[in-house]
């Protein structure tokens, strides 16, 4: 009764909904942990905006300055032409970073490990293998290979099939342990890698160069042709994953307890594997293999957010990944370093994996 009296009297039907929302917002901000979370998000967003500005500045004004020009003295169309390459590169970096972070977190939840990510068990080798096989079977001139969209759909399809086969074998047979997964991934990427090399050796030279061009995608040589499809796919992957965030929370209790709480576990794993395969294929096709970005992003998000809830973790991981990639690349362009940022990310990631493995073994 007391609580009812303390509330303002409802005036109309509409107001009660707004009042309810306001109460919800009030109670959300009454918890210090939530306030801290929002501040972290705002800081991260500001840092990303700064990184984006630095990247664009380094590629336009700074480059002109080094050439001894100001913006006004630049040849007509030069800025537009640079921006025409800079913006797709930014989109591509953001899209692949976000996708990698989100699927790395959901993958870690379904395999119950903080050390593994989809990249680490050889997903990218499937990408290279598919490209090589396409050229070998159909030729470099075939529309299946040459058209970036058709090529993407075929690659994604094959990656879905391979990951389903691979994981249904691992996860369903209850042998869900890290060592087994890692060994399986190692052997799989070894087999696919040597098969790929075999095909590349026996194929004709012009085909080989085409394959080389398509598979040596990296941050300096992004495949921005497929940006038109990569962005919508990123949106779908992110929404499909975020929408299930409460299920991931329950699934982090372990498969048995999740099932007992009403999660159709096998179906969830299947859905997740499809999402992960779609995400991995788009990220790898855009920007090449970024083995440790997802791992670094997810674990640093865990450290910052200090929560097990997946919604803030998803958002923070995605922001951390985008920040690491864009800021790293911006700094590289700013100082005109020759080493790509991905090399540094992989170096740091490697050390971090060692640390995680040692730490997990202790407990």
């Amino acid at each position: 009764m007391v609580r009812k009296l303390a509330q303002p009297l409802p005036k109309a039907g509409d107001n009660s909904i707004i009042g309810h929302m306001l109460n919800g917002i009030k109670s959300f901000f009454s918890k210090p942990a939530n306030v801290r979370m929002v501040i972290v998000f705002l800081l991260l967003a500001a840092a990303i905006a700064g990184a984006v500005w630095l990247y664009i500045f380094s590629r336009t004004d700074l480059r002109l300055y080094r050439l001894g020009m100001t913006r006004d003295e630049a040849p007509p169309g030069a800025i537009e032409s640079i921006m025409g390459r800079t913006l797709p590169a930014l989109y591509a970096m953001a899209a692949s970073a976000v996708v990698l972070a989100v699927i790395s977190l959901s993958f870690q939840t379904i395999v119950q490990s903080r050390v593994l990510t989809p990249s680490m068990i050889g997903f990218d080798s499937v990408f290279v293998g598919t490209q090589t096989a396409l050229v070998f079977v159909f030729g470099a001139g075939s529309i299946l290979f040459a058209d970036p969209y058709i090529n993407y759909f075929i690659t994604a399809g094959i990656m879905i099939v391979v990951s389903m086969v691979m994981f249904s074998f691992i996860l369903r047979s209850g042998r869900n342990n890290i060592i087994f997964l890692l060994m399986f991934g190692l052997v799989l990427s070894g087999i696919i890698g040597s098969g790929t090399r075999y095909l590349q050796v026996i194929m004709n030279q012009s085909d080989f160069f085409q394959v080389q061009a398509a598979t040596s995608v990296n941050i300096n040589n992004m495949n921005t042709e497929i940006i038109g499809i990569a962005i919508p796919i990123m949106v779908v992957v992110v929404f499909a994953t975020l929408w299930r965030h409460r299920r991931y929370d329950v699934m982090s209790l372990g498969s048995v307890q999740a099932k007992s709480l009403g999660i159709p576990y096998e179906r969830e794993i299947t859905i997740n594997l499809v999402i992960i395969a779609i995400g991995m294929s788009v990220a790898t096709a855009l920007i090449g293999s970024l083995t440790f970005l997802g791992l670094l992003a997810v674990n640093s998000a865990r450290e910052i957010m200090k929560t097990h809830k997946h919604l803030p973790l998803f958002i923070a991981s995605a922001m951390m990944a985008a920040l690491a990639l864009i800021l790293g690349e911006a700094v590289r362009v700013f100082f005109e370093w020759a080493i790509p940022v991905t090399v540094i990310i992989n170096l740091v990631g490697c050390v971090y994996v060692f640390y995680l493995i040692l730490k997990e073994n202790k407990t």
């Binding site: 903080r114 409460r246 299920r247 209790l253 307890q257 007992s260 009403g262 097990h308």
Partner: protein, 293 residues
């Protein structure tokens, strides 16, 4: 009502290697039913099949007259709660968060006021009010077990299945846990099925005991009917001596051959082999230990 009809289950493809064969039981309402038996008798497997965590290969498990395989997982979770043997979590989580997950089948993770009330009730019932914001790795094993029971209480199901809830608990917490389970039945009208390793806990707290051997139900009935040498000797492949205390049967199950061993301070001697000082008894102790494990 839960009825198990002609359940047979095998892990390997060979049908001669069955972990469960032709099980027919009806779970007694508002009672603690204890599943007892030697390692590998199929107790935990039967529990998983009854809760549909492991879909039955042949036969049926009927929940209120409907085959569980035809019910959505989320609907089963509103009627049946299952607590597994070990609670190793890969995440760091507070008691309150854990108990709130118990409401997942009802609200899909979006807790409404009614759900929050249930959570508060469960926490109060399990005497965890002072610990709600503690992380699970900061509390004792007994408190952790109580937190998991609170989660199951919040799940608010008429049926509760517990797989060896006394594992890793010392005697004090084991007794506390069984008293709690007893209260779930007497105060809240729950139906509990529990796998117990220690038959004396089954004898003392269960209303109905199912003794299993080699994937079959060897004998089921009231404690006085099941806790007898005639039933337990073959089920556990061991010689039992049964006595009574307050009308409840108690098993004395130490090895009778140990009667020949006398304890002289730190040294153990066997009568038959007075000269072999240490070898034989050590080997024997090792055997006993491996049995316990």
């Amino acid at each position: 009502m839960i009825e198990v009809k002609n359940i047979s289950q095998s892990y390997s493809r060979q049908s001669d290697n069955e972990t469960l064969s032709d099980i027919n039981i009806t779970v007694r309402e508002n009672t603690i039913t204890a599943l007892v038996g030697a390692n590998g008798a199929g107790k935990s497997t039967l529990l998983s099949v009854m809760t549909n965590l492991l879909p039955a290969k042949s036969g049926q498990v009927m929940l209120d007259g409907v085959d569980v395989r035809k019910i959505k997982t989320s609907e089963i979770a509103k009627k049946v709660a299952f607590l597994k043997q070990t609670h190793h979590l890969s995440i760091r989580i507070t008691i309150k968060d854990l108990v709130e997950y118990g409401r997942f089948p009802h609200c899909g993770g979006r807790l409404k006021d009614a759900d929050k009330e249930k959570v508060a009730e469960a926490i109060t019932y399990m005497n965890l009010e002072d610990l709600v914001d503690k992380y699970l790795d900061e509390i004792s094993g007994g408190q952790r077990q109580r937190a998991f029971i609170a989660m199951i209480l919040a799940q608010d199901t008429p049926y509760i299945f517990l797989d060896e809830p006394l594992n890793n608990l010392d005697i004090k917490y084991s007794v506390e846990m069984m008293k709690i389970v007893g209260k779930l039945v007497s105060d809240l009208g729950k139906t509990v099925v529990v796998v117990l390793h220690d038959i004396n806990f089954a004898a003392a707290y269960a209303g109905h005991i199912i003794a299993m051997k080699d994937g079959k139900v060897y004998k089921e009935g009231a404690p006085l009917d099941v806790i007898t040498p005639e039933v337990l000797d073959p089920v556990f492949d061991h010689n039992f001596h049964i006595t009574k205390h307050d009308g409840r049967p108690i098993c004395l199950y130490y090895d009778h051959s140990m009667k020949h061993i006398h304890n002289h301070g730190d040294h153990v001697h066997m009568h038959e082999h007075p000269h072999e000082d240490s070898d034989v008894p050590h080997a024997h102790q090792k055997e006993v230990r491996s049995e316990i494990n």
